[in-house]
């Protein structure tokens, strides 16, 4: 492509230029032609016109001169006539003749100029007339000279003057003609010019078109040129790049040579002199460049090798590539071994250069020796490492070999390295059998992913009989052909492992300790991040913040802003070693927060333990006490409560004000003593009170007692007394504190209420229904104790979660209650409904609920009261009755059907027998008809017999239902049937397949199963298609609640769309061609149904039928 452009460009360009030149020259020629044409045309017109005008002007001059001459002649004549002196007359005559001569000359000139014929005629006439006129003038002059003036005047007046007038007219006409012709000529030239202009317009248009075309052409050309220019530029750039690349590659090659780390040089094969040497060679051989260029290759060889060298040089072809190993000599004389490779370079001039690369193999060999040495060392070192060093290699087939194993294996496995080399698997023998598989898996994993092999396992210590933990660590390297090589170590980590276990145990202990603390404990690091937390802490966070706590989170995420500031501040202090405890909280929630430093062995603070104790209750209690004290006094007064103190040592009693009020005595008149205060108590109750005091003193606890007091006015009051003993340091009872409250009124009301309640309670408890009271949201407010019998739940249990009982209702009943019954109750109507309820022991009970609305003063229903009575037995009886009724109805239907069919089928042969007896000819026993009648009588009797037998069968089957149900094996039954039908089956060459795998047995009456299967198989045989071989397939499988026996054939089939309802009917038949009584399928159905199952059929005419028998199956 590039090449092609290179060649095509110049020709292309020159052609373009040619086009341009052509276009421009065409344009130029056109323009020049037009301009010259215009010029000449215009010039011609101008010249013509000028000539014509000057000619006309001259003519006019001549005519004017003639005109003047005529005038002067005429004047001279007149003067002649008037003059009297002959002298003068002669003078005039001369003048006239001179003028006449001049005129004739002028005339002559004019004639030459006039070309137009008409004008020539005028001129000719004028000439001839002027000639005549001249003669006349002469005559006149003669007359005048003769002084015949009168005559001359007359003559002049009659002849000369008219003539003169005529001459003037003629001259005028001539000059007019010339002027008009000159004007015509002017018009003509104008016409010519305009014509020319018209023509010129056409030319101009053409010129424009040509110019436009030229412009287009030029534009095209310019575009083309621009394109060419671009291409040219690209090419130039490319060439520059190529050149640059060439230059670079040259430089690179040069550098490759010069900076090559291998010593290289070029020498002339003829002279053996160095031509070019690289830097590596300078370094290797110790010569400078200048020195090298003075040398021949022989100089760098040791003297003793020169002979061999020259021989080899001579013997070799100059063009060959060579590679040899020889010795070279440095400038300092040292000799070393090199591997020389040389190749011929293209020659120039006389020289034949050869490029030589000399690799110093001296060091390599030394390195090799070094390597061997270090390997030996490594071996020694490895044997001194605790544990074993190994190198193992494994192929894709899983076969592995130890390429190296150090002596340490003796201590670890008690096995020698050579044993391992011989039989790598011997190592496995020692590994704990629980770990062996893990080790193997780790190796395969490492093999597949080339990840480091790290595995820990146990090996048996034969002498100590203990397990030793070993950690194997290896680095895999992928070698060729799928081999992986591991280098690694096996180290005894038993002690580490024990230490770790201990650590785990102690950590677990610590955690258990922490978790058993009732406080929430967090361990925080310096940055307030949670390092550890206990179970209470986790629970707290979950309860309060609904969040999961995790180590590493900042504690600040779990506290609010106010708390955070204090926490951060105190945390800082704790880090200094302080222990800080403070309370935090508001309202009812208070926490005691303790920050304690966790100190390391060197007393440095390792962490901060934060414990949070919920002290809300404590706080609350304190608060309550304070408040209570305040209220006490007020309350005592209001509650008619007084307190007293009985000092047993001093035997005094002190009363508070309220006590005086209660005892209705005056503080001023009455001094209470232990004795007189007991006198208020009626005698019969004093023991009771004493008992309370004794009890309190004995058990050191508060005792209370209610008793009556008899006042001075004889009235009785009921008081409630509380007694608290006080002991001294030695445990001796020294004092009683107590309070006394007047509870007379309360007691009275209480007793009244109790009486009423007891009455109601006993009523409620003695009716069989459960009485309840519920809020409008169905939450129970009250439920009578009978609920225990009905639901199994106690009233406390039901009332503790007041709307729980609704959950015991089945969903549909709950909907009935909440969506239908309750709205009506809330609308103020009494309702009753029957619902089911789950009792505590998960039984279902039917309840009759009667609910009445309780309406407040505003007419709103605020409560619902009701009763629930147990309907279960009634309901159950009802269900049972319905079931029985259904069953009875069904059986009745069955019986009717049965009776109908039986009557029909029994009657048919009987009717025949009757008919036959009527046609029997008794009178003529020998009648030919009679034997046939007898035959048919037989037939009918047989049919009657068969029918009765069938009926017997059917009835027997029903009675068989009471037979024992046993586990019946389908396969066994089928075998029996196959045996009994073996002849028929063989005859048909039937293809039989069976599969009783899924449900091999069924619990049923054996004879039923046998009969069902027999009937189905027999049917398949009877109604097989004459066109195909019988294929019979039996299969059992389990579906929910049923075991299904499925029998499929490829027989004639039944048109189910017509006969669906009749398939299993008694004496229903669908095919007339074979013997059949229409009993088989009916029996199948009867038996299946008697067993609690059902039957189904699927059939297609001429395709086959499938009968599915479902046996009830209870898991």
């Amino acid at each position: 492509m590039l090449k092609k452009n290179k060649f095509s460009l110049p020709t292309h360009n020159s052609r373009t230029i040619k086009y341009v030149l052509l276009a421009f020259s065409g344009l130029l020629v056109t323009l020049v032609t037009i301009i010259s044409l215009t010029f000449f045309e215009a010039r011609k017109i101008q010249v013509n016109h000028q000539a014509y005008v000057s000619d006309a002007l001259r003519k006019l001059d001549l005519i004017d001169a003639l005109h003047d001459n005529e005038g002067s002649i005429h004047r001279a004549i007149l003067l002649h006539l008037t003059s009297s002196s002959p002298q003068e007359k002669t003078e005039y005559e001369h003048e006239i003749s001179a003028t006449q001569r001049q005129s004739s000359r002028l005339m002559q000139q004019l004639r030459q100029m006039v070309t137009d014929s008409s004008r020539l005629q005028i001129l000719d006439r004028f000439e001839s007339e002027s000639a005549a006129h001249d003669t006349l003038i002469t005559h006149l002059l003669e007359l005048s000279s003769e002084s015949r003036v009168e005559e001359a005047l007359e003559f002049n007046r009659l002849v000369i003057t008219p003539e003169y007038q005529m001459h003037r007219g003629q001259l005028k006409a001539l000059s007019e003609g010339i002027r008009s012709s000159a004007r015509e000529n002017g018009d003509e030239s104008v016409d010519a010019v305009s014509r020319f202009v018209r023509n010129h317009t056409l030319l101009l248009i053409i010129t424009f078109i040509v110019a436009a075309m030229t412009v287009l052409l030029v534009r095209n050309i310019i575009r083309r040129l621009r394109q060419d220019n671009l291409m040219l530029n690209a090419e130039i750039e490319e060439r520059q790049q190529l050149q640059k690349a060439l230059f670079e590659s040259q430089t690179q090659y040069k550098m490759l040579f010069e900076h090559n780390p291998l010593p290289m040089w070029v020498y002339d094969q003829d002279t053996l002199l160095f031509l070019e040497v690289n830097e590596a060679a300078f370094r290797e051989y110790g010569y400078t460049k200048e020195e090298f260029l003075q040398l021949s290759i022989l100089d760098i060889h040791p003297e003793e090798d020169l002979h061999a060298l020259t021989r080899s040089i001579n013997s070799h072809d100059q063009m060959q590539t060579r590679a040899t190993r020889i010795r070279h000599k440095r400038k300092d004389g040292s000799v070393f071994e090199v591997e020389v490779k040389s190749d011929v370079l293209p020659g120039f001039g006389e020289s034949h250069p050869r490029l030589v690369v000399a690799v110093n193999v001296h060091e390599r060999q030394q390195a090799l020796q070094q390597l061997q040495r270090s390997e030996k060392q490594l071996l020694e070192i490895s044997s001194s490492i605790p544990g074993a060093v190994f190198q193992i290699q494994m192929g894709a087939d899983g076969a592995y070999t130890f390429t190296f194993i150090s002596e340490g294996i003796r201590d670890l496995f008690h096995i020698t390295p050579s044993e391992v080399y011989d039989k790598p698997s011997s190592l496995y023998r020692h590994i704990h059998r629980h770990d062996a598989l893990r080790v193997q898996q780790a190796i395969y994993a490492s093999y597949n992913s080339l990840s480091p092999l790290v595995v820990e396992f146990r090996i048996m210590q034969p002498q100590t009989r203990r397990w030793k933990w070993v950690k194997a660590h290896g680095l895999p390297t992928l070698k060729s052909n799928g081999y992986v090589l591991w280098n690694g170590t096996m180290i005894d980590i038993t002690e580490q492992e024990y230490a770790r276990e201990q650590l785990i145990t102690s950590e677990a202990n610590l955690r258990a300790l922490l978790d058993s603390s009732p406080q929430a404990i967090y361990l925080l690091d310096e940055a307030l991040n949670i390092m550890l937390y206990n179970a209470v802490a986790k629970q707290d966070v979950l309860n309060l913040l609904l969040k999961d706590i995790q180590t590493g989170q900042s504690i600040l995420e779990f506290v609010d802003k106010d708390m955070a500031n204090r926490l951060v501040e105190n945390h800082l202090k704790t880090l200094q070693g302080e222990t800080i405890i403070y309370e935090e909280g508001s309202g009812e929630y208070w926490h005691e927060i303790a920050l304690r430093p966790v100190l390391g062995p060197d007393d440095s603070v390792l962490a901060v333990s934060l414990s949070i104790l919920n002290i809300s209750e404590r706080k609350l209690a304190l608060e309550t006490i304070r408040r209570n004290e305040e209220q006490l006094a007020r309350a005592q007064h209001l509650a008619q409560l007084g307190n007293w103190e009985l000092d047993l040592v001093q035997e005094t009693i002190t009363w508070s004000d309220s006590v005086y009020e209660i005892y209705d005595v005056s503080r001023h008149t009455f001094r209470p003593t232990p004795h007189n205060s007991t006198l208020f108590i009626p005698e019969e109750e004093r023991d009771l009170v004493r008992q309370a005091f004794d009890e309190s003193a004995r058990h050191n606890r508060i005792a209370s007692v209610e008793h009556r007091i008899v006042l001075e006015n004889g009235s009785t009051r009921m008081v409630h007394e509380i007694v608290e003993p006080e002991y001294d340091a030695d445990g001796r009872l020294i004092r009683f504190h107590g309070s006394v409250q007047d509870i007379t009124e309360r007691k009275n009301t209480e007793q009244e209420v109790l009486r009423a309640k007891n009455l109601l309670q006993s009523t409620l408890e003695n009716i069989p229904e459960v009485i309840f009271s519920a809020n409008t949201d169905l939450s129970l407010v009250y439920v009578s104790p009978q609920c225990r019998e009905l639901t199994g739940w106690t009233e406390e249990e039901l009332l503790s979660i007041p709307d729980r009982w609704v959950c015991f209702l089945p969903e549909e009943d709950r909907e009935l209650l909440t969506e239908q019954v309750i709205p009506k109750v809330l609308a103020g109507e009494r309702q009753h409904c029957e619902i089911r309820m789950r009792t505590r022991d998960n039984q279902q009970k039917w309840l009759m609920l009667r609910i009445s609305p309780m309406v407040n003063e505003q007419g709103e229903v605020y409560r619902m009261d009701g009763s629930a009575s147990d309907m279960t037995q009634y309901k159950e009886a009802e269900v049972k009755r319905n079931e029985l009724t259904d069953q009875l109805l069904k059986q009745n239907q069955n019986l009717q059907q049965f009776a109908y069919i039986v009557s029909h089928n029994l009657r048919a042969p009987i009717a025949n027998i009757l008919g036959l007896t009527t046609i029997y000819d008794k009178h003529k026993p020998e009648s030919p008809m009679n034997p046939r009648i007898i035959d048919n009588l037989f037939k009918s009797a047989r049919l009657l017999d068969t029918t009765i037998r069938d009926l017997n069968d059917i009835l027997t089957i029903r009675s068989e239902l009471n037979k024992v149900r046993e586990e019946v094996k389908f396969s066994k039954v089928f075998e029996e049937i196959q045996e009994s039908l073996s002849n028929e089956l063989e005859e048909e060459y039937a293809e039989i397949a069976y599969d009783f795998e899924e449900a091999p047995t069924v619990v049923a009456v054996r004879s039923y199963v046998h009969s069902i299967m027999l009937n189905l198989v027999t049917n398949a045989l009877k109604y097989k298609s004459p066109d195909r071989k019988l294929k019979l397939q039996l299969k059992t499988y389990i579906i929910p609640n049923y075991i299904c026996l499925s029998v499929t054939d490829n027989g004639l089939g039944i048109n189910l769309s017509k006969e669906k309802g009749k398939v299993f009917g008694l004496y229903k038949r669908f095919h007339t061609h074979t013997e059949g009584r229409g009993l088989g399928l009916h029996l199948v159905k009867t038996q299946a149904e008697l067993l609690g199952g059902k039957v189904e059929v699927d059939s297609q005419v001429n395709v086959g039928s499938t009968f599915n028998i479902y046996f009830r199956y209870n898991v």
């Binding site: 109908y900 009557s903 029909h904 089928n905 009657r907 048919a908 042969p909 009987i910 009717a911 025949n912 009757l914 008919g915 036959l916 009527t918 046609i919 008809m929 046939r932 009648i933 048919n936 037939k939 009918s940 049919l943 004496y1067 229903k1068 038949r1069 669908f1070 095919h1071 007339t1072 059949g1076 229409g1078």
Partner: protein, 137 residues
């Protein structure tokens, strides 16, 4: 009219057909008695006789109810679709062993069925038919 031309018996019970044929012959009730053991066969015979201008169409049919395949009721459905000018001349009787009221009611409800008789056929029945249905025409 004394003797019918053709009587058709439709019953799967061979013996009954024999009885009927014998009685009809003995009583000289018809010139020809044709018996079919299935309703399908009988129907195809009737259809073929219709296509031959109805010449062979029977004057009287005795039809059983219970038969395998097409039963008496199904046969009546098909019979109904035969051309009226042919069936008009024919008397269809049910002859069944059933003594069930339901069957009798059902038979009466069919317009095509002239009467229901319980088996066996007897000379009395034939006399009754003659008197009630044939002489009147």
């Amino acid at each position: 009219m004394n003797t019918l031309k053709r009587v058709v018996l439709i019953d799967d019970d061979e013996v009954n057909n024999f009885v009927c044929e014998s009685i009809i012959r003995n009583e000289n009730f018809a010139e020809e008695v044709l018996s079919f053991q299935s309703a399908e066969e009988a129907l195809s015979f009737l259809k073929s006789s219709v296509s031959q201008d109805g010449e062979n169409f029977p004057d009287l049919i005795f039809l059983d109810i219970n038969m395998p395949g097409m039963d008496g009721w199904n046969f009546i459905e098909e019979y109904r679709s035969l051309p009226e000018h042919v069936t008009q001349r024919c008397n269809l009787f049910m002859l069944s062993s059933a003594v069930d009221r339901k069957d009798i009611m059902c038979a009466r409800s069919h317009e095509e069925v002239k009467e229901f008789f319980s088996k066996p056929l007897s000379p009395e029945i034939l006399d009754f038919i003659k008197e009630e249905f044939l002489l009147r025409v």
